[in-house]
């Protein structure tokens, strides 16, 4: 499970956590008449074998559900469209996915309530970091520089591209040398050791890296910051059973009050769960809309 814990990075880690906590919290509620199905968007979980992730999530779902006579199923999706279809056909009770993929697939009126995981003392969001001694003080200064971002990170891609369009009205590919790293911490270290000029990383990872080495905080500076409640959410659709919604909400909020819930929280290095609503996901829709506006405007202007 340690490998699994490492694998669940950034948004991916929240996906598994949210589903498991729902089951752990619901264990104290009334037995469900029908199985509770959690739909995971698998590409959101990084650096791990998908087969291992499926097996682990299913095992843990069953393990947690068994003592409470609750049947649970962890259903994995490689395609958000399929997940969207199942959710809209009420075959999935809870959709667990990175925030940007969630907002790209669902419209606000299709989702109702959900949860996100938080750590104490750590904000969630994105940070563009540079070395203090590099002399870079504005986004524009990144022109011609070596910039890193996380691979397969739709949020980072959209955020960075939005910034490039907003600041320079040109795509990032023309503004600086963009490279991708598999993990945020790699990007942080490369900037720290001067192997890259800047990197877009999650605030949580930056905070964790600074905890591991305070020299990072002393040597690096955040050039640009974008905060959000969380980078991943577990949300129910408007078509989900209202009885289930209350059950899931109540269970999630009681997760930190049960032994097994605390174990799962510790496993995913999470302190507590917070209730999430449409407003919490709204910044991502805003960002996405801005991104669409800027890129479509550019495309239209090209036409």
């Amino acid at each position: 499970m340690i490998a699994f814990g490492h694998a669940l990075r950034r948004a991916g880690s929240w996906l598994g956590l949210l589903g498991l906590l729902v089951l752990a919290g619901q264990a104290r509620a009334e037995p469900a008449m029908t199985p509770l199905i959690l739909g995971f968007y698998l590409p959101g979980i990084r650096d791990a074998n998908p087969t291992d992730i499926r097996a682990s999530l299913q095992l843990w779902v069953e393990e947690i559900a068994k003592p409470y006579r609750l049947q649970g199923e962890a259903r994995m999706y490689d395609d958000m469209r399929v997940l969207y279809r199942d959710a809209m056909q009420n075959r999935v009770d809870l959709v667990i996915a990175p925030a940007m993929e969630l907002t790209e697939t669902f419209r606000p009126e299709e989702l109702t309530q959900g949860f996100s995981a938080r750590r104490r003392g750590s904000d969630e969001g994105l940070a563009l970091i540079v070395q203090k001694s590099s002399g870079l003080s504005q986004f524009r200064d990144l022109r011609g520089k070596h910039v890193l971002r996380l691979s397969n990170d739709r949020l980072g891609q959209i955020f960075l591209e939005t910034q490039c369009q907003r600041e320079t009205a040109s795509p990032c590919s023309k503004l600086f040398n963009l490279a991708e790293e598999k993990r945020d911490v790699q990007s942080i270290h490369r900037v720290f050791f001067g192997q890259a000029d800047a990197a877009l990383v999650s605030l949580g990872t930056l905070h964790a890296a600074s905890e591991l080495n305070p020299q990072i905080g002393a040597r690096l500076r955040v050039l640009l910051e974008w905060k959000a409640q969380s980078l991943a959410f577990g949300m129910m659709t408007v078509r989900s059973d209202p009885a289930y919604r209350d059950l899931l909400l109540r269970s999630a909020m009681q997760a930190s009050q049960t032994v097994r819930g605390v174990q799962i929280l510790e496993l995913f290095k999470t302190d507590y769960m917070v209730r999430a609503g449409i407003s919490d996901v709204q910044p991502f829709w805003n960002l996405y809309h801005e991104y669409q506006d800027l890129t479509h405007r550019k495309a239209a202007s090209r036409k």
Binding site: I2, H6, R183, V185, Q186, I188, H189, R190, F192, F193, Q195, E211, L212, N213, P214, Q215
Partner: protein
């Protein structure tokens, strides 16, 4: 009915049991502790080897995984990889990487940081060879440190130091000590019953045999031991039973023999009682018989002495008789010649009277000598010696034997004078016979009497050739004689010894002289009155 000795039911608190139990227990416990003390260093070495192997493997793995990053100065990868290694391996406390060029890194499970130059100097970047071992920090915290140079194709890139916590090693060592303690305790718990039963098994038969032996020693020959084992103790048990059986049989035989002996003793006692009843009479008879024999012997001796004396008288009387015959012939001749005057008649008659008187005195002396008196009295030794000499004077003169008597007049003896004279006469007569047999040219007999302390010693010496030493111890036996048949009775010296030693409480001994014999008489002396 033979009573069989069985094992005692209760634990016997004998000393041999305690000794065996104590020895067995101590030995086993000592062996356990010794084994533990010997095995722990070996285990410790093994654990250190495991630590070394682990450290070397981890270090090589890190270097290999980070080789590309090291060569390309990708410190980010080095940090991430080591963080991942440290998170995966909780046994690693820290990794210190000091490149020859660039910043040194120290990575721990809780973080990492770059070291400044001063800090980096704690480890030289050009470390030549690996080193390893357990080190103790200031706080006493122990860790296993492995330092190795980082080389790539002969290029010395830097040095890496990996610190491992020794909690597992310490836990293993503690576990070994706990196991040793546990095993020792377990051994002790096992020793107690095992040692108890072992010691009991070993010593109980001995104690049983000892108890049975004590019963046997107290006389109970029915005590047997019932130990059925096929070892030496079983053999000892059988032998013991056989020995007790043999003892019982011997005792039975002994009792029979004793009974027979007692019967015989009773019979003998009865016979002795009868014998004792007649013994006094027989003793008296024997004494009377012996006294009669002695009387006979004495009588024979006296007769023999009388024979001797008659010869002596003949020699004594021959000269006066011849002289008397000459007086009578002279008287007859003077008468025929008419010359016999009154005066000559009276002179011749006077001479004849003297001769007759001399002969008469001779007879008196003999008569006194043989007077059968048994009354003890004190008499003068010199007188007794001279009387005896006078008796034999004629005989000695006839054989030209010189008799010398050297005796003081004041020497007195107590006894029967006739018996003492008989002894002296016997000794003088034997001396005369020896002298005559030896045909001594100058025969001589010397009597010397003197006082020695409170005794009187009388030596009678002759030069008659002496007595053969071979027969010296037999001369006092009765009827023993060296004289020709018809010349000696063999009772003279026997009687002399009896008279001196039995009647006069003295001693008579013979000793050889160069040319003769000495008879020594020792008698109690008598102090003269006044």
């Amino acid at each position: 009915m033979s009573r069989r000795w069985r094992f005692p039911r209760i634990f016997p608190a004998n000393r041999i049991f305690l000794r065996v139990f104590g020895t067995f227990g101590s030995l086993l416990l000592a062996m356990t502790v010794l084994y533990g003390l010997l095995i722990i260093p070996l285990q410790r070495d093994s654990l250190l080897k495991v630590l070394y192997s682990q450290a070397a493997t981890v270090s090589r793995s890190i270097i290999q995984a980070c080789s590309e990053a090291m060569l390309s100065d990708d410190y980010g990868f080095i940090v991430e990889h080591n963080l991942q290694v440290l998170q995966n391996d909780k046994g690693i406390e820290s990794v210190l990487i000091v490149p020859r060029q660039g910043d040194a890194l120290r990575i721990t499970p809780t973080g990492w940081r770059m070291l400044d130059r001063l800090e980096a100097h704690i480890l030289p970047s050009d470390f030549k060879s690996e080193s390893f071992g357990i080190i103790h920090a200031d706080g006493g915290h122990a860790r296993y440190r492995y330092v190795t140079p980082i080389r790539f194709s002969g290029l010395n890139w830097g040095t890496m130091r990996v610190d491992f916590n020794t909690s597992e090693y310490d836990a293993n060592i503690d576990s070994m000590y706990h196991q040793l303690f546990f095993i020792s305790g377990l051994s002790l718990m096992a020793i107690l019953p095992i040692g108890y039963f072992f010691a009991l098994w070993l010593t109980r038969p001995i104690a049983t045999i000892s108890a049975a032996a004590s019963l046997v020693a107290d006389g109970d020959l029915k005590a047997h031991v019932n130990i059925r084992r096929d070892d030496e103790i079983g053999l000892l048990s059988n032998s013991f039973n056989q020995m007790v059986d043999a003892l019982a049989q011997n005792r039975y035989q002994l009792e029979n023999i004793n009974q027979e002996l007692e019967t015989k003793v009773a019979e003998r006692t009865q016979a002795l009682d009868v014998l004792n009843q007649t013994l006094d009479q027989r003793v008296r008879n024997e004494i009377a018989k012996r006294q009669a024999q002695e009387q006979i012997l004495i009588h024979q001796s006296r007769l023999a002495a009388m024979g001797e004396m008659i010869g002596a008288i003949a020699h004594q009387w021959r000269q006066p008789l011849n002289a008397l015959s000459l007086v009578l012939q002279n008287m007859q001749l003077q008468y025929r010649m008419g010359q016999l005057s009154e005066e000559s008649m009276q002179r011749l008659q006077g001479k004849a009277d003297q001769l007759i008187l001399h002969m008469s005195r001779t007879i008196d002396e003999f008569r006194n000598f043989f007077k059968p008196s048994k009354i003890k009295e004190t008499f003068a030794l010199a007188q007794a010696l001279h009387s005896a000499g006078n008796i034999l004077e004629g005989v000695f003169k006839n054989h030209n034997i010189e008799l010398s008597i050297d005796c003081a007049d004041d020497l007195l003896l107590t006894g029967v004078p006739g018996e003492f004279s008989q002894v002296i006469l016997n000794l003088l007569s034997n001396a005369k016979d020896s002298i005559l047999t030896a045909k001594q040219a100058q025969p001589r007999i010397y009597i010397h009497a003197r006082k020695v302390a409170l005794q009187v010693q009388i030596d009678v010496e002759d030069n008659g050739g002496g007595i053969d030493p071979v027969i010296l111890h037999k001369i006092y036996e009765p009827y023993f004689t060296t004289k020709e048949e018809g010349w000696g009775t063999g009772i003279g010296l026997y009687m002399s010894k009896m008279i001196i030693e039995n009647n006069m409480y003295g001693r008579l001994e013979a000793s050889a002289l160069p040319r003769g014999t000495r008879f020594t008489i020792l008698l109690p002396g008598v102090m003269p009155e006044g």
